[in-house]
Symmetry: C2
Subunit: 249 residues, 2 copies
DNA sequence: AGAACACTTTGAGTTAGATCAATTACTCCC
DNA sequence: GGGAGTAATTGATCTAACTCAAAGTGTTCT
């Protein structure tokens, strides 16, 4: 059974309607080309897709779409940062994902039935996204079935990563969830330590990990006082990941 | 960074190695045909795929694969029931999914790189699964690119459903997580009430929802005493889903 | 520069849920 | 049918994390 979402009608932030400029800048094109969903496309096919797409500028906190809205487009982040979240009817805001330049989001909508966004998407700072019509991508896939391989690889990876996110959330205590979250942020091969930039403000990381901001702050203070992390705003330096993993049990 | 899994070497349940009979029964074929990943296949292609697959019988609690094991096969459930779970090094067992006849699992491994299982899979009761070589499916997709559309639809759906699972887990209190879990189990269109069968023993539902079995039991007892559900072993009757949703806030 | 605002931290008190322990109910097997 | 083993429930504590409140700390805007 589906939960109906009373919050949808109460939420008053403006949803983006206006369509902005076509997409024509070189840097953005480069970024797009290096995404698995687009890298296999011939120059011509990519051009055609881009022609049907629009570049959208978003201001700080501006809403791109709402949950349950019909999904006619999916998105590619050119600059800035966004977050995906849900609201329940009591107004509690739960962060589900953060999205950086070079990432795609809502791309599963290409095959959703019915095509409705599963959450809200808003800019965390001023951002630019490429808005790609679902239909345009569908048509392209249909006329070039071999592109589907790349899409499949991407979708499979997405499913695995969501599975992994779910796995973190079945960890019962807040400290261990936070530790695992931090370990995941560490780049591969940083077994000897490394710096991590939180992709969200601390209060939203807390929401993502199903804890209160106060709890987040206290856990981090505790890790800091035990010499496990050094904190500098949203940059954390993790000197000994192995020790961190050890204590998370 | 990836967490290394000390538990892997400690866990002693036998992993299935023996290969069982080829797959040839009619009922199973029917079930397979109605799964989106296979429904579009021509009889010949399906036959060929089946010839390369094996039917595997699993006893109660028998392990099918371990997390981090190389993944050369994916699976389709013919009968019985399985669950996916992870173990952390302290031996805590966290249930991530339950799988019923007619479901596929580990199918994202077709595109994983490197192909290693992300969790353990074990039978919850005596079960039969079809073991399909990843390579066989890959080859088939390669020679019939149009089948990729069906696979894409399936993968997209999988990603959406994992996203939804994640969403439930960001709900901070145990009671509301349980309520949402129950609502999701209700068949569509059961707004006026309906019966739900827990797909897992209660203690594993608890683990899936990141709570203790005692907590699960107390919450259910509380819902029962408020006339919100009637409980009969693993069958729950939910008389007024709307009221249940209302109080979950 | 200073006001307004948003985010973060810290403290104190409370509570939801974990833990420990004991009992009851099922299920499977001989 | 009786005994072993597992799952579920119930009760009594205890503690991790929530809530409320207030004080810092940045950041943005005029």
């Amino acid at each position: 059974m589906a939960l109906t979402q009373a919050a949808q009608t109460r939420y008053t932030k403006p949803v983006l309607v206006a369509i902005n400029k076509p997409f024509d800048d070189e840097d953005g094109l480069e970024a797009l080309r290096s995404h698995p969903l687009f890298s296999e496309l011939t120059g011509k096919d990519l051009q055609h897709l881009i022609q049907q797409s629009r570049r959208v500028r978003l201001g700080h906190h501006q809403l791109l779409y709402r949950q349950d809205m019909p999904a006619h487009n999916f998105f590619f982040v050119l600059s800035g940062r966004l977050r995906l979240y849900r609201l329940d009817s009591s107004g509690i805001d739960r962060t589900l994902d953060s999205i950086a330049p070079g990432d795609c989001f809502a791309e599963v909508m290409i095959y959703a039935d019915p095509p409705r966004y599963a959450c809200y998407a808003e800019a965390l700072k001023s951002s630019e996204v490429l808005m790609i019509p679902v239909k345009a991508y569908q048509d392209m896939l249909e006329s070039n079935p071999r592109y589907a391989q790349a899409a499949l690889r991407h979708y499979a990876k997405r499913a695995v990563s969501r599975f992994h996110d779910l796995e973190i959330m079945t960890v019962q205590n807040a400290r261990d969830r936070l530790i695992r979250y931090l370990i995941d942020l560490l780049p591969n091969g940083a077994e000897e330590g490394g710096e991590v930039e939180l992709p969200l403000p601390k209060c939203l990381v807390a929401s993502r990990l199903a804890m209160q901001p106060e709890t987040f702050s206290r856990i981090l203070a505790d890790l800091r006082s035990n010499g496990l992390v050094r904190v500098n705003r949203s940059r954390l330096f993790i000197s000994d990941p192995r020790r961190l993993i050890e204590i998370s049990q």
